[in-house]
Amino acid sequence: MAVQYESVIGLEVHCQLETASKLFSACPLEIGAAPNTRTDAWSWGLPGTLPVPNKAAIESAIALAVAIGCTVHRRSRFARKHYVYPDLPKGYQITQGDQPYATGGALEIPGDAPHRVRVQRIHLEEDAGKNVHAASTSGVDYNRAGAPLLEIVSEPDLRSADQAAAYMRELRTIVRALGISHANMEEGTLRCDANVSLRPVGADTLGVRCEIKNVNSFRFLARAIEAEILRQTDLLARGEPVLRCTLGYDHDRDRLFVMRHKEDAADYRWLPDPDLPPLVIDDAWVDAVRETLPLLPAARRAHWRGLGVAVADASLLAAERDLADYFDALLDAVGPARARRASSWLVTEVLGRLHALPIASCPVGPKMLGELVVLVDDDIVSGRAAKEVLDRCWAGEGSPLAIVDARGLRQTSDTAAIDAIVAAVLAEHPRQVAMLRAGKANLRGFFVGQIIRTSGGQANPRLVGERLDAAIGEEPS
């Protein structure tokens, strides 16, 4: 009988912090600058230079740890990890080794059944430069050398490629909500290595894992992980062992390739960095950071869902800080009772018109949109009319109320007035009334149209339908 395997995935995510200067020196940090124009003596590893930690980077680090519920350690150390690579200016990287500043948090992957993924640790480290490979040489740009990174290591709690991508997206949303990083995979400010292994379902030990490195988009991450799961599944099905290795993903060919066989672990000759006294983060600092944290995506989603917002809409709106802030402002304008209507208008009508442009380019602000939402919710304008109003707001014609009044779009919801029109229209078309009563359902629309037209376009269509049905149903058939 074939053994059923489950995939076990852990992610090591590197997030480049958005600070003015690098982690250990005052060198300016700028993405996309011309090669070697944003370096200083430290970034080049020049002899005689020493590290001094960047306070803002530490503060950002604390913010993330608090946001995902980690324990922030009062005392942690920096350590040197030695290896040889042209983009590593000192021949070692300053990272945190076995004394990271934060351990033990978790984040929730949103969805109908939210999945909790534990975070093992977060630590601070400096980035290396960038290699540009040519045929027989490499060119090195040290602009990025020394940039502050947070490395977030998850427990192997992920069970599918989609979950892994969703975890990455949530992490990205959180760091962007905190304002500590651009977290853009294409730009390289968010990077991910995935550790993938298989084990028989029900087993509690881990299988041999392989590491996929340097994937630069969410989509490719999912594809690469899927490819690796397939590769390992095939091997195990053939009775062959999975050998530890490091893989890259060629997205042009949609294929994994082996970067190195990792039979021997590298000897990094770890050394607690003698140039850096212990990093001390006291409770007062953690508390101060906690006070200033913005509302986080998971909390926002839960709050909105509690107000009746659909799960998918809540996830979408929480994914970008600006959009979430817009929605919160919209809620302030319309009140929590109208949350569901407000969210669906924002998602369907506003985002639909923006076509993936950011909310910042929306010409209709939340207060204005809120005005319109209230008009629709209170049945003052019909849904159809409201869309026209929105188009006109978008074009800058004025506020929704002004437009409604200027174009006479208020609908009548006066039952008595509508009953009078219903009666009049029915009286004008006795033959059609009889046919409708006899079961010719498509005549209903004819009558609704007639009634609305007679009302000068102002009758509330829903109410018209109700009163028409009532009038038709009252008479004996």
Partner: protein, 113 residues
Amino acid sequence: MCDPPAASPGSANVATAMALHADEVDALARLAGLTLREDERATLVHQLGDIVQYLAALASVDVEGIAPWQPVAPSRAPLRADIAGAPLPAEEILRGAPVVADGLVIVPRFVES
């Protein structure tokens, strides 16, 4: 042939694994990015062996419960305000590099040994 030293701190194995052998020294050289010249290998192995044996005196000390030394001050790393200074001008810094092209430092293709 000597066995490689065991990893356990305070272990008497430290004292026994003393004479360094040529292949061990070669392995160290590879890690350290050095090649040993034929004419010096034997001398170096011998000298390193003597020194390592001398250093093994540390194995005899009881360090149970003793914390690693830290400088008297500072007890915590001073933190720097996040203010960017001026970068080094690219021409100046690249002038010191042995091989440069298109603003990049050029090296032979890296092949992991």
